[in-house]
Each structure stands twice: as C-alpha cells, then as structure tokens.
Symmetry: none
Subunit: 535 residues, 2 copies
C-alpha cells in the first residue's frame, strides 16, 4: 500500500512565541530552527518579519536548512494595492522559501472587525497569494475557519477556494478560538475536501477544550495533509497542537504509520525527548513530567501491581517502547509500591539482596510508614538508597552533628535601615575530633548549609565540589504548626544529580536532615573511607 | 428532547494518587472528597482500603456525602473463595456505597500475568460481583479492555458480559496503557453496546497519546454513560482523563449539553476554577496556567486588535464565557489592557478611584515589577488590596515591628536525647508604647507568629480570633540562596479567609512579611481605629 505524504508545519517560533511569559532571542530562534530541521519538520514558521526587530533580523539571513523557512504576515490591507502595503512588503522581502498569510474567513470578522465587504476580502486573499507566488510558496491561514463555517459555510468555503484557485500551495483551516470539537472538525474538513483537494489543506488547532491533538488527527482522517503545531504545545491561552505528542503517534500507531509518510525518520524520533527538554531549557520552563511520550514520567510505573507485570513483559503496561522516542522506563518507590518496585530500585542502585530476604518487606513497610508521615521517596532516590543501605547493610557514620544553632535577626543597622541577618553555628564530631563552625547566609537554611560544610575535617575534600541546586518545601496538614517536608537537590563536578529529604514539624530541622543525608550520600558515592572510631 | 443522564466518576484519590511525586494525607483526602461532592460528582473513588494505612483510615468513617463513596480493590484471588480472600474482605468491609474491582479482560494478562485459565477468570469476576452486591453497588473495571479486545474480542466481551449478567451496576472499559486512539475507542465501544447496554458502561481513559479527553467523549458518543477521570488530569504516567477539561465541555458545548444531563449544576461549574486551584494548593503543585477552561491564561488575550475586538464582542475570540467556569478574562501586554484589569480588581475590593488617576498606572507598574520578582498576587487578593490601599489612600500603621529575633537550636537535652527548640522574640511599637514578647513554637515561623500576636497592646482584642490555616512556600530560581515566596492563609470567627504574601531571599523574612500583612488586613477589616500617634 502506497503511503501518502503528510506534512508537518511548526509554528513554535511564531504562534508559540505568543505564549504568555516567554520570549525568543535571535540566538534562541536559530537554535530552535536547527533543532526542528534536524527533527525532520517540513515547514518552519520563523516569525513575523517587520513586526519586531528579532523577527526581522531572523529573516535577514538564509539559514540554509532542509526545511522550508516560512515567513508569517497578514493579508494585504484593504484599500491599498499589494505593492503599496509596507507590512506585506516586509514579509515578502524576507529571506524565506514560503510565505504564510492569515486571512479572515468568518463573515462577522470581515464586516465588523475589518470593516470591509465580503467580496473585498476575497480579492484581498487573491492579491496576497498572487504577490507571494512571485517570491516562493504561498500559504493562507483561514482564521476562525470553523466558527466561520458554522456561521456562513458558503462564505468560509469561498475564502478557501479563492486562495486555492489563485495557486496557494496550502490553505490552512484554523480553529483560532480553539473551541471546535473533533467530530465537528472531521465533518467540516470532509465537506471542504469535496471542493478543495486534501493534498492542499492544512489544519491549525488550538487546545482550548484539551483536544488540539485529537482535532489535528481528525482533520487528517478527513483528508487534510498538513498539520500545524508547536513543540511542547506552546502557544497562546491553552496552546497549539503539540507536535511532540503527534509525531510519535504518526510514526508508531499502525493506523497512521501504515497510511502516511512524514519527514521525521526513526532516528529523528529517537531525538524527540531530548529536543523537547532542550526547548524547555532554552525557555527556562519546567518540563512537563507528564507529557505524552517524552515526559519524565511517561513510562514511570508506580503501582505495585503494574511494576511486577512490566518487569515480566513491558507490553503489558506500555503502549509503545520508550526507547523509540528517546525516553526510558522508571519504576517508582512510594506508598503505592509493592515488593517488585523495591527490588527493582535496589537493583538499580547496586544493592545485592535475596528477593526473599525478610528485610526487603521490612524496608517496604518502613517506606509506607514514612510516606504516611510526610516522606515522599519518589523523586528522592538518594534518601531511599540511604534508608535501604541503613536497613540492609549499614552506612558508616562519617560525621555526627552534636548540636547546631541558627538565628535570624531583623533589626535596624547603623544606617537606621531594617536588615535581616542569618547566622548558624554547627558542632560536629569527625572520627573522634570535635569541630565547630559558624557562617552567615541569605537565610537560615543557607547559613546552616554553609556552616555544616565549612569544616568536616578529613572528609572535607570529598565535598568541595558539592553544590545545592534546588530546595523544595511542602507543608503538610496546613498552618504554621504542621509537618514540613523538605527536598534538597544536589550535584557535584561529575554532573550527577541527587535528591534527599527531611521531614519534621520544624522547617529548619527538616532542612538539616536533608542536608546531612546529601553530604552522607556524597561521601558514599565518592568512596570516602569509614571512620576508624565510631563517632 | 429528553436528555440522558451521564455519570461522572472521580478517581483523583485512587488513580490520581498514583501520580508520581504526590501523596494525599488523610486530611487531604477528606478535603478533596468534600470538594468533589460539592462539585456534583456522582462517584468518588476514595482509595484502596487495605493497601496502605491512609486509605484504610479513610474508609473507616462514613463521610456522609451526597456522592457514592467507592472503594477500589482487585477481584478475588484465584484459588480462594471470596470469603477466604483477606484483600477482598478488606475492601468489602470498608464503609462505602459502591465497590469497584479491577479485573483482567486481556487473555494474555489472564494467562501470563495471573497464571489462570480464561474460564477461571470469568468465574472470578462473577464471584467478586456477587460478593460486592451484598454490600452495595458493584462496579468492575475491565483492565486493558481495548488492547484485550483487539487481541481477542470475544474474550474481552465475555468479561464485560459476565460482570453485567451478575448484576454489576457499571462495567468500565479501561484504556489502561493509554495508547488507544479515539476512533478505535468509538468503534469498539459501539460494538460492546450491541451486547451490553450503554447505560451500564463506563470509560476510563489514560492520556498517553494526549487524547484522554477525546477518548472519553468518543466513548460517550458511542453509547457509554459513565466517565472516569481525575481533577486536573492527575494520574500515573501521563495522567487520567481530566474532568476539569471535560465538565465544561459537557455543560457548555451544545452537542453534549443538549443531549446529556450531569450532576454538576451551573453553580458547581462556576466553582470549577477554584476547585482546580485548591487541589493544586493542597498538593503544593504549580497550577497549569495553560489548562483548558480554568488555566490562568485560558482567557488571556494579547492586547491591540484582540483586546478591542474582545471588548466589543467576546464571542469573537472566546469559545465560551470565562465566568461560566469561574475564570476571568485577562488582557495582557498593552497599557490599556493592564489598566482594565487593575480597575476591575479595585472595584471588586471596594476601592473608589477615578480611572484616569495616574496612581492607577503606578499601581499597575508596581504590580508588574513585583510579579517579575516573585510576587504572585493572583490568589493573594489581601496582599493586592493592601498594596492598592497603601498606594491610593493610605493604611494606618497599627503597629511597627522594631526588631525580631528567632532561633532554632538542636542539642542534647537532660535525657541525652537530641531535641530541637525554636524561640522567637519580637519588639513592637503600638501607638507610642514599646512591647516585647517571647514565645516558643514548633518551628521558627510558628514561634514568630506566636510572639508577634502575643501582645499588640490596645489592638489585641481585634486579633484574638485570627487563625492561620495554611502556609505555602515556593522557592524560586533554585538553590538555598534563592528567592522564597510565602503565602499565608488566615481566617477568623466570621469565617472569612484571606491570603497574604511575603517575598525575600530569607524564608523567615518572607514569612514575617506575610504575617504582618495578615494582621494588618485583619485590623482594617475589623475597623480598628488608627493610632493617635504615628508609630
């Protein structure tokens, strides 16, 4: 069976740039464009030349990509010729392979928002396409197409036909408000396909009912052959159709993989997780751990029942192989865990144990008990490992904190200004020697951290490269008298990252536990020798 | 046209509890159950009694809700009678109205994972349903139903029929691996409906291809009449079907609203945004600003063309009215847009101001500046109100904190045990009088709170009924040297609840700011007289 070609059009750098709270620098745009090209995307909509300096600069260069670089703009202004429209000129002067113009296709918008006649709007579309074809490929985004079709189907369709007849390579049906349902998209696109061939039709959904991905696929089933979306579903309001969710479905689900051919190769697909995370890093956004296919937890199994089955045969609980998209399986340890989770985790951290060893069940009980009291081991594998080693083998007491004291004081300084100062004193015993250190910090936990790590005697070299990178606090059961759980993330020069926990009704105490465990874990990892004397 | 009843089954507290990185305390479960009940959910799956202490404790009480409290468990173990299965017994002994058992329906799982015959599995289903019906309503979750149906349709169907014939009120078709596509769900459910009435069929999707919501609706279109999902799409891996996305579509989109009646009233729908955010607050999770319907940005429009059009007629750019789900429109970017926001908020808290007053723009600038530095006023209206009053009218300085000092000390006590003690000293000036108080607490913030509120002179009566009910901490930009944002929730005997913020690199300082503002807000609210002397 011959497969039909399905085209992917990415608008991360244009529609995605309209996401609240993010912006792309010129370098960012170039980096993302190259990533998209390496992935195998067919069209890259780089921005709106003339609308802002970054986009204009981006289009001043030919980036020499395999993909078709696409410039976005608005159809020519009413009452002017195409040649006399500076906005249009700026777009057409851009160094691009394709030019995509947004046009009105909802009669209400034409008459009220634009204030022109329905006929004038059609002429505008034709003239714009004609101008674009001189320069390269012409595309037209029919804004509000589905709402427009419901209001006045003949008019909406005539907009599509005008663009197609004038020679547009693609006419894209946009669900601009994002409220159209998949069954409606499928029915309407099927109607349009009776007048304009699907080989020239695209779909541009938005995620306002949580169905942008479903809408894209519904349009494809009805005959459309171009999907417009963004990486990680970026975009205004609730986002655009997420290409990171769509590409694996198109490549791995037989219903689509057997019918369609896309520009993304199997190797490109394996880069997808990395690409998704790189974009988040560029934008300093927290990755969505639950993202389909590429999320850190997309193949993470928590329930005990699930974990034992997936160990036997992954197909029992995984709909596709994580490796296909560059992701990996995870088994989690938590109060939902069963013995299999614990055994898998012990194996992963290199602790040898007989599965029938009764201490395994005791460890599981201890985990469940602690989880009921505020400990959340999942995401804090280093704390789990320390607990496991303590219960199954023993961990050396590298250092013993005899006492600590931390104070925060806000008072007027010599200039009469209110200033807050934090100071911590820590007394530790290291292999029989008692050491005492003081430090000031930004806050009480920072001061304690600095004081604790200032002088650990013979073990000091092992923690010189220890850095704390994240600090998360949860107050359980509300109020200032409640239980506090602190998760501390640390790293070292080897680039390994580990998380340790502390739980107490006292936030300082909780933070201190997490700190102590982080240091102990580092010592274990670095192979620090056990003390000669017990502390 | 008579509408059919469509039932909503929430499994936030069971399947949702399997979300990586979250856990529910007993109090959390009760709070969430009450929220779901107020929303109008028909079935609340509270957990798996016997599987862990929290769930067992939850089911030891009758929570007296309108909804049907549902206990989850596994079908009876093979080779035992129902009476001799302690796991089953633990579930059936729970105080619940309904009992939902997960059963295998994929022949491969029956034979390989369970290691029993296909016939035995059917008997297991029947026996379990029979035992459950003695206690209350019986439900059966057919695990891996869609994969099972594709592998062996007759067997999968026979599992459904076995449950139905034995008297199960609902047989739920689960897309356990989450990889089934909407068109497949629709076709398969339509087939099942030819053998078992849709009035007794439920759908339980997972979001592994980003189409859980679409799958739920596809099943309903094919005849299923129960949807199982979670709030905010919580759940393992990529989550369950998001009821927060589904409910507004069912209530507001004519295709569904005209055909179906659900338990959520219009008033319940208006609570949805609040409910979604409250769950995130309980779990200390960042709300998804891009969530359909309820996200902070779901109705956020860039300024300019959109803003003026949407001001004229919201339908031009909004697919539903934000107020219907308790959300609000946001106008971003342009000064014009921002000003409308601030004016609306001032009006809401009862501050009279001339829209052209230049202080309004200064207030907007101050808000934007603070938001860029860690202040999140949305959700902390009392802090916004105080800021607004300070900039527009003045707020009396009821008390002036001259200095404070808080210490946390961990040392060995007289018994040789390590104990941690927190002590705070606060010096305040109240109407010319200097007062100094000391207090001990569970932790540094608790100690400061008690010391600060111990003696505020003439104003003491106004805060006798002030209670702190929640305390949320966010560390921004990572590490122990980063910016901390604290949100404090307070209440009084009048039952009003308000939230105040504090932001600082020092967590104690941040907490103290939030405390001071909470007390000041309470004085304002209670009409405390301004001091005669300035402090």
């Amino acid at each position: 069976m011959t497969r039909e070609r399905l085209y992917l059009f990415d608008t991360t750098l244009r529609d995605g740039a309209q996401t609240a709270g993010i912006s792309f620098s010129l370098d960012d745009k170039v980096a993302v464009a190259r990533m998209l090209d390496a992935l195998g995307i067919d069209y890259i909509e780089g921005g709106y030349p003339g609308a802002n300096p970054t986009d204009s600069a981006f289009f001043a260069t030919d980036h020499a990509l395999k993909a078709k670089m696409t410039a976005f703009g608005m159809t020519k202004r009413a009452g002017r010729s195409a040649a006399n429209d500076p906005g249009l000129k700026a777009v057409l002067d851009a160094r691009a392979d394709a030019y995509c113009f947004v046009a009105k296709s909802w009669d209400y918008h034409v008459e009220v928002a634009l204030g022109i006649s329905l006929v004038e709007n059609l002429d505008t579309i034709r003239e714009t396409v004609r101008s674009a074809r001189v320069k390269g490929e012409a595309l037209v985004d029919c804004e509000h197409f589905f709402d427009g079709y419901k209001a006045n189907p003949d008019y909406a369709l005539s907009c599509v036909q005008a663009a197609y007849e004038e020679g547009a390579r693609w006419v894209v049906l946009c669900d601009t408000n994002g409220g159209t349902l998949p069954e409606e998209v499928e029915a309407i696109v099927a109607e349009v396909v009776r007048h304009v061939p699907g080989s020239h039709l695209g779909i541009h959904p938005h995620n306002d009912t949580g169905q942008a991905v479903a809408n894209a696929l519904a349009a494809v089933r009805a005959g459309a052959r171009q999907i417009q979306g963004t990486l990680n579903g970026l975009g205004e309001r609730c986002g655009n159709a997420d290409l990171v969710s769509l590409i694996p479905t198109l490549k791995l689900k037989p219903a689509y993989a057997q019918a369609f051919d896309i520009g993304v190769s199997d190797e490109g697909l394996r880069q997808l997780t990395q690409i998704s995370r790189t974009l988040d890093a560029i934008l300093n956004r927290q990755p969505n751990r639950h993202a389909p296919y590429v999320g850190a937890n997309a193949f993470a199994h928590k329930g005990g029942i699930h974990a034992s089955a997936v160990a036997k045969d992954p197909r029992t609980y995984e709909h596709v192989a994580p490796e296909a998209v560059g992701n990996a399986r995870k088994l989690l340890v938590s109060d939902q865990a069963g013995r299999s989770n614990v055994l898998a985790e012990l194996k992963r951290v290199g602790i040898e144990v007989d599965p029938k060893d009764p201490r395994v069940m005791r460890l599981l009980e201890e985990v469940k008990e602690r989880e009921a009291n505020g400990w959340a081991f999942e995401g804090a594998e280093a704390s789990f490992e320390l607990l496991a080693r303590r219960m199954l083998g023993g961990v050396p007491r590298f250092f013993d904190v005899l006492s600590f004291r931390v104070g925060v004081e806000r008072r007027h300084n010599a200039l009469g200004e209110l200033a807050t100062v934090s100071e911590a004193v820590v007394k530790v015993a290291v292999d029989g020697e008692v050491l005492m250190s003081v430090a000031e910090g930004n806050g009480p936990v920072n001061a304690l951290d600095l004081a604790l790590r200032k002088d650990l005697g013979k073990y000091q070299p092992y923690i010189d490269d220890l850095r704390l990178t994240d600090f998360r606090v949860r107050i359980l059961d509300g109020g200032t008298g409640a239980v506090t759980s602190v998760a501390l993330e640390s790293t070292d020069s080897a680039g390994e990252v580990w998380t340790t926990l502390g739980v107490s009704s006292n936030i300082i105490d909780a933070s201190f536990q997490a700190l102590e465990d982080s240091i102990t874990y580092k010592f274990l990892k670095a192979g620090a020798p056990a003390p000669r004397q017990s502390a």
